[in-house]
């Protein structure tokens, strides 16, 4: 009944805009996960899309084979991706900087080749994913997930756990000396990033209804990284903005036809020159809002400091 009502509501929106809207939601989920790993913890990952593919195929196969309720399906996809995150995090998170980036890239490429050769993923033909088993329309599902992920990320960044992650980004030796088990925390951050990418992948698979391992290659990982860097590393509002802009921009540039990607690329370059720390890097959204409303921001001494006021270059 509620499902029907929501369905009608969703049908009011023009299909084209609905699709952009949903793609933005999925991009936000992916960007927020990578932001935790790369922006907050400072571990450059070039293989985020690999975890998305694990979620996409897990979700797709579960729907095809078992027809389980979509919520169970969604969580399983996240957990499966997180499991792989921990599995490869153990050996590679000892590496730092460029080496870590290359290792994540290698993992993603290997995974793609494996998925392209498994029967259960239908090899290079890809998988058609049927409609999910849920009364709630998928667009609403996507945006509920977005809200939950945003809430979780805010809680994480304003906690002892989140501070430890920032400490690791700033100075790993000092972090260890303060009693932070850096290996454990990095693996946890990686697992959360993978989990959210798994969620995004599962939602994507059911929304697009067709998935192929090649959809989750290097360029997809770079797209997500672009969103995080453009928004401002470490900034939650930044990742949301970056994901929204970069998902919507190619659509709004459609009138330029074949010059579209050229203009898109040039815009990226210009933005990074004029705002090297990202659009919202070094901007406190809290303070901006307070200023706009004409109230004096309360100093935030009691609880942890403003984690939104961040954003810096990849080290």
């Amino acid at each position: 009944m509620i499902g029907e009502y929501l369905e009608n509501l969703v049908n009011l929106v023009d299909a084209y805009y609905l699709q952009i809207f949903v793609n933005i939601g999925i991009a936000i989920i992916l960007a927020l996960g990578l932001n935790l790993v790369t922006g907050v913890t400072g571990q450059l990952s070039l293989g985020h899309a690999a975890f998305m593919s694990i979620g996409a195929f897990t979700g797709g196969i579960l729907t095809i084979k078992l027809g389980m309720p979509f919520s169970v399906n969604l969580i399983s996809s996240g957990l499966m991706a997180a499991f792989f995150g921990v599995l490869i995090g153990f050996p590679i998170l000892r590496l730092s900087g460029d080496y870590l980036a290359i290792a994540t890239l290698g993992f993603a490429e290997i995974l793609k080749v494996i998925l392209l050769n498994l029967d259960i993923t239908n090899r290079a033909l890809g998988l058609s994913v049927p409609l999910p088993n849920t009364p709630i329309p998928l667009p609403i599902y996507v945006w509920l997930t977005v809200l939950l992920v945003i809430a979780a990320m805010i809680l994480i960044q304003n906690s002892r756990f989140g501070r430890a992650l920032r400490a690791i980004r700033e100075d790993e030796i000092a972090a260890e000396t303060m009693g932070i088990n850096t290996t454990l925390y990095k693996i946890q951050a990686f697992a959360i990033g993978a989990f959210t990418a798994g969620l995004g992948g599962c939602l994507y698979a059911h929304f697009i209804a067709y998935i192929n391992p090649s959809d989750f290659g290097f360029s997809k990982s770079v797209d997500i990284l672009n969103m995080v860097v453009l928004g401002g590393l470490g900034s939650i509002p930044g990742s949301v903005l970056g994901a929204s802009l970069l998902t919507a921009a190619p659509e709004f540039l459609r009138f330029m036809e074949r010059y579209r990607m050229l203009v898109y690329g040039a815009l990226l370059v210009f933005l990074m020159i004029f705002r090297p720390n990202g659009l919202l890097g070094g901007v406190s959204v809290r303070q901006l809002v307070c200023k706009a409303l004409g109230i004096k921001p309360r100093p935030r001494q009691s609880l942890s400091t403003d984690s939104n006021m961040e954003g810096r270059r990849v080290k």
Partner: protein, 258 residues
């Protein structure tokens, strides 16, 4: 019973013996100074105690427990904290957050605690960590700069912030690596006062420092290191006139008042 005991500890880097058969004891409640010419191996001793380097030989005990093969974070949890010779602050974070991170050892909540951050128990933990951090900042007189980024502090302030951060760990043994380096005479005087205050609060201190006036005025005992080996040990007045110490310093043309 000594708080920390090193027995015949050596560490080699390739062919270089940076610390050579060192016996060292830090007693409960004392300020022990570790001095010696440049490159003598003093900072290496700190890195051995805090688990950043592993000894090639020998044993390190803290409260009777072997800590040779413990990870740095584990050693911090046991109550040893330190400052660094070259400043290692969390540069892009605020002064307050730097110290809050120091208070990490005093909290428990991890990932799931974070997701339940709105629960009263978690908020209580955050509040107690914050009040610990504020106390530490007051002690080093940085409580008026809590919201500044660590990188924007003056050099002397950064050194004090490192001490505040180390105190937030609630250590029973505090290691200070050249705390007075780069400070002016007034700052040094205040720092001496601060270190005495820390000692009075029951924390034992092992300190590396080149400023001899500072060392002589502050330490209960002194250990002298040269080429990784201990060449003298004793009360300040004993060490000051020890011929081996004078030679180690003068022989290398390093000025000192010993």
């Amino acid at each position: 019973m000594p708080l920390l005991t090193m027995e015949r500890v050596s560490v080699r880097f390739g062919g270089l013996v940076a610390v050579n058969q060192l016996d060292l004891e830090v007693r409960q409640g004392e300020i022990l100074a570790l001095i010696g010419p440049n490159g003598a191996g003093k900072s290496t001793v700190f890195n051995l105690i805090t688990g950043i380097y592993r000894p090639t030989e020998g044993t390190i005990r803290f409260r009777e427990e072997m800590i040779n093969d413990k990870q740095p974070h584990d050693i911090a949890m046991r109550g040893i904290s330190r400052t660094f010779q070259t400043i290692h602050l969390f540069n892009e974070l605020s002064v307050f957050e730097n110290v809050l991170i120091g208070a990490h050892t005093q909290g428990k909540s991890g990932l799931f605690g974070a997701l339940g951050g709105f629960l009263p128990a978690k908020r209580r933990e955050e509040r107690s960590l914050a009040s610990l951090a504020r106390e530490c900042l007051e002690l080093v007189q940085l409580d008026s700069k809590t919201e500044e980024l660590a990188k924007n502090l003056s050099y002397g302030e950064q050194r004090r912030l490192e001490i505040a951060r180390a105190l937030a760990v609630k250590p029973s043994l505090l290691l200070l690596d050249e705390p007075a380096a780069g400070m002016n005479p007034q700052e040094k005087k205040e720092l001496m006062e601060l270190i005495r205050q820390i000692q009075a609060s029951g924390i034992s201190i092992l300190m590396v420092e080149h400023d001899m006036k500072f060392v002589m005025g502050l330490s209960d005992r002194i250990v002298v290191l040269d080429y990784g080996a201990k060449i003298a040990e004793g009360l300040p007045e004993e060490v000051r006139f020890n011929p081996a110490v004078i030679e180690a310093y003068l022989g290398k043309g390093v000025s000192g008042q010993c």
